[in-house]
Amino acid sequence: MNQMFDVIVIGGGHAGCEAAAGAARCGARTLLLTHKIETIGEMSCNPAIGGVGKGHLVREVDALDGIMARAADAAAIHVKTLNRSKGPAVRGPRAQADRKLYRAAIRGLLEAQPGLTILAAAAEGIETAADGGIAAVLTGDGRRIACGALVVTTGTFLRGEIHIGERRIPAGRVGDAPAVGLALAFERLGLPLARLKTGTPPRLDGRTIAWDELEAQPGDDPPEPLSWMTERITNRQVVCGITSTTPATHALIRANLHQSAVYGGRIQGVGPRYCPSIEDKVVRFAERERHQVFLEPEGLDDDTVYPNGISTSLPEDVQAAMIATMPGLRNARIVRPGYAIEYDHVDPRALSPALEVRSVPRLFLAGQINGTTGYEEAAAQGLMAGLNAAARASGGTANRVLTRGEAYVGVLVDDLVLQGVSEPYRMLTARAEHRLVLRADNAGLRLTETGIAWGCVGPERAARHQAFAAAVTDALARARSDSATPAALATGGIAMNQDGKRRSVLEVLALPGIDPALVDAAFPWLRDLAPALRSQLEAEALYAPYLRRQEAEMRLLEREERMHIPDNLDFTVVPGLSSEMRQRLSAARPATLGSAGRLPGITPAAIAALAVALRREGARST
């Protein structure tokens, strides 16, 4: 293969698949390079996609015509929208997938993607051009493949090492060799590497679980698809079980802590706080007598069960004894032990907001290699890296960047490149300043238009989006203008202040605890609205008054966000900055005043000084 590609993507995980599909959708001749074709789209840890924050990301990737949501819908066997009792901004769609069906769906989507080639080979080296940027990839079987841009998405494979008790196995994932050559290549490129860890629980044989002793947890009926392009989910839906640890489990773990890889001091990498091992939970929350464990089937014709909540690096025999202390699991057999994995990641502060390595032109990184955790975080970065790599390979600039006000994807990338990571980074809605606006239900309205401009959205989705956006605009206009008197509303059973002031549909929808059926009765046209349309009205009614009150503050944030810091600004000559602030700003090179304010350790005084300097700069240049 001496053929040249516009974009090469290394890695067939969630970041790599989105990157390859995204670059190809933009028209780039794209090569997906992976160790093994069979593990493309593998769910290495829990068999679920979505959730609070993560579900938001999946919908955003979908809004840019990405593949994760569509594949998840094709594989979904248990679907639940989290936070259904809370408002629309924090509801998180989540689907448990049949792992085999998910792999098949991803592979099907990639194979159907024009302009995308898939090749099984190990990437062992990187060749740079005269400008220090990427020229070609060298494979383990001796090939040199030239490219215009490269996206590296190696997950936990960079010098990955699995720990089970005192055993250590070099691996990227159980049964797969680590990527050592690439780690060396990165070291030669001078990329700042650090170590992180994560873990996974043992897998159980579902046939050995006493399901009838356990509380059952059904999914939503009907299951709501993750993708805007999916009409409905057709797979048979399964039920999950709930069990828990017991005081006996905790006693056993405490007695064997010294054998845990994490507690025995054999692992230095920092693990995620929100996905602690069961050892961590027992030590840090010693007063708790039980921890909940969800038993999630991994497939329709697969008896493997994922016990969510007990990731561990204890030796195999201790894992078996521990499982037997939990209700319903007395006779449960472990089919694969849990483990902790340590791996190299690149400090993402070395990246531009387009996810391009600043010091190595045309090299893009996405996924766990950037210090994140989670399939959804990986997919979101993969998509952005793929789109930017395509732009770069065609001779353009990598400027496909979403802001914090536009998307969780923007929040994610901005956090990474600006703040770096001290533990595997997970998306949470608390990270978004504009949480009420960035909803899972309006991802398409927020992003699809941008995607069309970027060229990554296909005609079918574009047409569907435009029809929906127009319908939303019409419905909102009608809901603002159509109104009723308080007397008329009271007759219809809607109690309110009889002040004679007419209330618009939106105002009525905003009444706390209002029964939707009563609103429908008062304004019968609402009955004819599609549910997706109606939920846009409800969200607008609920949040608009709040957003208006925050407007002044948000305008200030936006203004700071728009204050661009010139690439060549010398922070050392900005008057009024202390030497420490100068150092921090010079190292991070924030692109806007807003991002400077989010840097750790930057004082409000420094921001004020910078703002004055920028204003003066702006006055000079205009």
Binding site: Y274, T429, A430, V573, P575, G576, R598, A611
Partner: protein, 444 residues
């Protein structure tokens, strides 16, 4: 706020830290990257840090300028956070001028007003409220003002605000945990806890807001407007209180045509006495304008001192200003005794001319001043900026209490936290997540 372009912290600055004029010792202070070099050049080498050393100071030509006690404070553990030095010189103006000249020749420049404190603030050595406190301390005229400013320098306001921000962070963390980790086995009453916490916090903030503006008034001074009919003896009273001829006194009604103001220290509180034009149906235009100003000053005043003469019936214009909050004075008791009440208020009987009753009036004014401005020990809010930020935080807390959905409660708590953050510093999302993961076992 980052002001003039000349204020570059790359410069090394110096200033006379002791007062101007002749004294036994004059202290020159210097700060900036070249402070060490300049000190070494002057004193023939750097002394041990933070130790007083006696050195001969020489200029570039080697001429001895003075024998001085020198102190070397390497950054960041100095007032400004930069390399700093102090030179304790002999106090003559010629000595100071010579050493200042030598420093300038070494590349240092005279500091702008407040520049040392500004640098300390920029270097994170003090928060904004402490920097304001330093400015107030330098400007303090009275004892109570000094106490109040010192408390702010010591961080009384910053500590309190910081403690509130800490509590708020925790409330927010609990609210956020309930939102983010719906699937985890968390306590079910997190939202209610956050609400109860918001109620308690708001009550405390409101308590501080209800300080009657004492702190601001102490910083600015209490304004007392002296009102009364022409020839009631207002100017005589002012002069008697001040103990000098501050206002022109004549028997002719309407002598004081504009407002005459005098500053007094009453029980440690700075008080401005404003003598105004007499209230009457005015004759000429100038006097009319004077009366208009008298009314305006009385409206602005923290306290009205209504003066009536015992030799005339109380005039309606002045009576209109008599309220239970006003001080009512019956003047000229040397001519005729005071009535029992004026406008329903028992007057203080005085004579500006004989001095009778003046001590009682002074005591009453002092008591009122202390009531209005405090003695510098209690009020923490000393600027409108403080009040505005806390008022906003309180309003958002009320919003959080009433929020119908957890994410709306959370938005309101975030806004309250930002308002508090504007007072002293910032609280980032990481601080909130730290609390979430410390307080709850999260992760399946």
């Amino acid at each position: 706020m980052a002001g003039r372009g000349a204020m570059n912290t790359a410069d090394t600055i110096f200033a006379l830290a002791s007062g101007g004029g002749r004294g036994a010792i004059a202290v020159l202070r210097m700060s900036g990257p070249a402070a060490g070099m300049a000190l070494a050049a002057l004193a023939g080498g750097l002394p041990k840090s933070r130790m007083a050393s006696l050195r001969r100071l020489r200029d570039e030509a080697g001429e001895v300028l003075d024998q001085a006690l020198v102190l070397w404070f390497p950054g960041p553990h100095s007032y400004t956070g930069e390399d700093s030095a102090e030179l304790h010189l002999h106090g003559g103006p010629a000595v100071v001028a010579a050493v200042a000249g030598a420093l300038a020749a070494l590349g240092a420049r005279p500091a702008e007003p407040g520049e040392f404190t500004r640098r300390a603030f920029l270097n994170g050595r003090m928060d904004l409220t402490a920097a304001e406190g330093v400015a107030d301390l330098v400007a303090a005229e009275t004892d109570a003002q000094r106490r109040q400013a010192l408390r702010q320098v010591d961080g009384a306001l910053a500590t309190l605000t910081g403690a509130w921000a800490g509590r708020l962070t925790r409330l927010l963390a609990h609210q956020e945990a309930a939102i983010e980790f719906a699937e985890d086995d968390l306590p079910t009453d997190l939202g209610d806890q956050a609400r109860a916490g918001a109620v308690a916090l708001r009550a405390e903030i409101e308590q501080h807001l209800a300080d009657g503006g004492r702190g601001e008034r102490l910083r600015e001074g209490v304004l007392v407007a002296i009102l009364g009919a022409p020839n009631a003896g207002k100017s005589s009273l002012l002069n008697a209180l001040v103990g000098r001829e501050a206002a022109i006194v004549s028997a002719r009604a309407g002598t004081t045509r504009d407002v005459v103001e005098v500053r007094l220290d009453l029980a440690g509180v700075p008080v401005t006495l404003a003598d105004t034009a007499g209230l009457r149906e005015a004759g000429d235009e100038i006097e009319q304008e004077g009366i208009r100003r008298a009314h305006r000053r009385a409206e602005e005043a923290d306290l009205v001192l209504a003066v009536f003469a015992t030799d005339a019936p109380p005039d309606a214009e002045t009576l209109a200003w008599v309220t239970p909050a006003a001080l009512v004075v019956a003047n000229k008791v040397d001519l005729r005794s005071a009535p029992a009440t004026i406008g329903g208020v028992v007057p203080l009987a005085i004579s500006a001319r004989s001095g009778e009753g003046l001590d009682a009036l002074r005591a009453a004014l002092s008591a009122a001043a202390v009531r209005l401005a405090g003695a510098g020990d209690a009020a923490l809010l000393t600027r409108p900026r403080h009040r505005a930020a806390l008022t906003e935080a309180s309003a958002w807390l009320a919003e959080a209490e009433a929020a119908a959905l957890p994410e709306l409660g959370s938005e309101a708590l975030r806004a309250a936290l930002r308002a508090l953050g504007r007072l002293t510093g910032q609280v980032g999302v990481e601080a909130i997540l730290d609390v979430v993961f410390r307080d709850f076992c999260i992760g399946k």
